[in-house]
Symmetry: C2
Subunit: 195 residues, 2 copies
Amino acid sequence: MSAPSGGGKTSLSRELIAQSLYLEGSVSVTTRPPRPGEKDSVDYYFVTLERFEQLQKSGGLLESVRLFDNWYGTPLKHLQEKVANGIDVICTLDWNGLCQLKQVMPDQVVSIFLLPPSFSEIRKRLVQRNQDTMEVVEKRMAEFYLEISRWKAYDYIVVNENFMEALSDLQHIICAQRLRRSYCSEFVSSLVEQL
Amino acid sequence: MSAPSGGGKTSLSRELIAQSLYLEGSVSVTTRPPRPGEKDSVDYYFVTLERFEQLQKSGGLLESVRLFDNWYGTPLKHLQEKVANGIDVICTLDWNGLCQLKQVMPDQVVSIFLLPPSFSEIRKRLVQRNQDTMEVVEKRMAEFYLEISRWKAYDYIVVNENFMEALSDLQHIICAQRLRRSYCSEFVSSLVEQL
């Protein structure tokens, strides 16, 4: 799932994970300092730049991306273990991260672009969140302009105008995905064998 | 949507149409006589073989299929009008009908194969329905064996073990489909134009 900052991806992911069976969040590794209330190993694995570079070099990260002055990455081993155990994992990535993910797991990625109803709305949310300086808000807006130009790389588009509606949209996508032919092939094969 | 006879496609379609906005059923043309309670222009357009052949020749049918001694067809004009008006239409077709539909509207077809939980279950339902002789039941079972061998032509697989669960599965598919990138391109384009 990709979204601009303030697009609601964190709160929507949390709620989806709280409600769904066989669905977990991906805990990213980051070099950015924790925000108030964020916990290590739950919200992120908070690491030093040295440790991050070590992970990168050893192939321990599925993808890594620099956002402003901080690095973010997805630990590959955790993700593979979960998927092998039949657990779907929500990763919040930007377009670049999505491309890297698709290279490693081409047949197992479903991509969703979470959009605000308008540009003025996204700026308002960033300002209201009150976590960033105006300079960072403008940087994030510029980042978003670039991101949205890549919307054609995504399978699904969800507009987050209303939290509950966006949540329900995401649930529909997850449930429908599990009904796709490729997900059900084991069951159908066993039925055909009864013939 | 394809399903074996007794797979529940008629009752599930009816319930989906009753619940959903912008969703209608396709009324087929048939040469078979009405069953008790079936109404002309609602359940089917009941026509003579002569009229059916006339429609076929004039290109008025999207697809036509012979099942046992009767012909079934989907009137093309109705379907195109509805789709042009933003209405999604549920067509219940067999594999052959699906292939013909995909040829005429390649980018607008989402295919769902509705399966019984087991073969013994489908035979039981056909016998309980009490509409057909045992000979017809066996004919329908043979038809089903052929149909199920083509399951790889379908986008989604729904198992109808429990009516309410199958209904909910179908609703997830319909809702998710409307969130696909191709459905949302108008909105995203208008958002990008604000840049």
